[in-house]
Symmetry: C2
Subunit: 214 residues, 2 copies
């Protein structure tokens, strides 16, 4: 198919497709002549994947590129591909807390990891976020939220087990490529899914509880 059809089917404007091609998010079409290329189903699928990450999961275009390069690699382990995806969806946050608040939060975060038997790299992107968030909540005197961390972690473990189960026992497809794509989509779009479910649950509970009170 040509670019106009790709655009029509996907709903993505032609200039935007050209932009993704320029940025290397989308591999070039197969050239049939110097200024004519044909795009395949794989391009359509890739384009849809890009839009899901950009529009739904709000992943910056440059990070989407990183994720896709990981997906396309055939030397990288699945664990490393997941690491790339994690780095892509975790914004680099500067250290905003004071050093002693940060130290206390670090201790608490490490204790939490240890008590749940989670072993992660000390420079895991999410670890910094966790530490900074704990520090911020403490500084803002919201310690009660922090005290629920452990229960949060327990509930989160359930998610992750579900996800791993969903992905390692897939119904039909089983090529490593497809599994990798499932895992990455589960990681990234799963976030969007959980977030929206949480907000919906909150809205429902909140409506019952606080609609009339101040």
């Amino acid at each position: 198919m040509r670019i106009a059809e790709l655009s029509r089917i996907s709903g993505v404007p032609v200039p935007t497709i050209k932009y993704y091609l320029r940025e290397g998010l989308l591999p070039p079409g197969e050239l049939t002549s110097p200024n004519q290329a044909s795009y395949s189903e794989a391009h359509l699928r890739r384009l849809r994947l890009i839009r899901a990450l950009v529009d739904l999961a709000q992943v910056p275009v440059a990070q989407v590129k990183e994720v896709l390069e990981g997906l396309d690699s055939d030397t990288m382990s699945l664990h490393d591909k997941i690491g790339r995806a994690h780095r892509a969806i975790t914004p680099q946050r500067q250290l905003t807390s004071t050093s002693d608040a940060r130290e206390a939060a670090t201790t608490q975060a490490n204790a939490l990891l240890a008590s749940h038997g989670w072993s992660v790299e000390p420079d895991a992107p999410a670890l910094n976020t966790l530490i900074e968030t704990i520090a911020a909540l403490r500084t803002l005197q919201q310690d009660h939220l922090v005290s629920f961390l452990d229960s949060y972690a327990t509930a989160v473990e359930k998610f992750t087990e579900l996800e791993v189960a969903a992905v390692t026992s897939p119904p039909g497809h089983t090529t490593p490529d497809q599994i990798a794509e499932s895992v990455i989509l589960g990681t990234i779009l799963g976030e969007t899914l959980i977030s929206s479910l949480r907000l919906l649950a909150q809205e429902s509970i909140s409506a019952n509880r606080w609609r009339t009170t101040q």
Copy 2:
């Protein structure tokens, strides 16, 4: 205190504080003379709140303003304040799915809400996200993830109950203002917290399972 001290304690540059003042995120200091103002502990606290929302939760500045205006309102119900916060952290997403995929996803989303007894407004910001995400996952042939939606929702309910408990039975403070702030922080920073915990759990499980395989 003066602006230099506010900057020093908070770690936020003076020009940035001025920017927040201009944008109305931070109320003006009390003028002691035409070009001299003094800032209080309340300003420091508000500034920290702004930075937590902007830096940690990645809420756009314009949306932070919305949230704060909600917090400061004394006529708005807590439920409406939460609604503002939800709108602030849910990006307005254009409809990207085809209309029949969207229709199918809508049906499924509504069935999910019904089966969990969640009643939400039909224009709840998160509902659109949920629908679009389901539609995208189906289009990308990731139905197995969709089939776990129900278990996700069950796990999410636990979160929300925990959060409501954390907020409605606070240890010390109980003024409506403080409760509102706690709820909004729980809603927004809770998202950041859960997200980072999920990534950490994933990394740990992934390391054990997929470090060596492809």
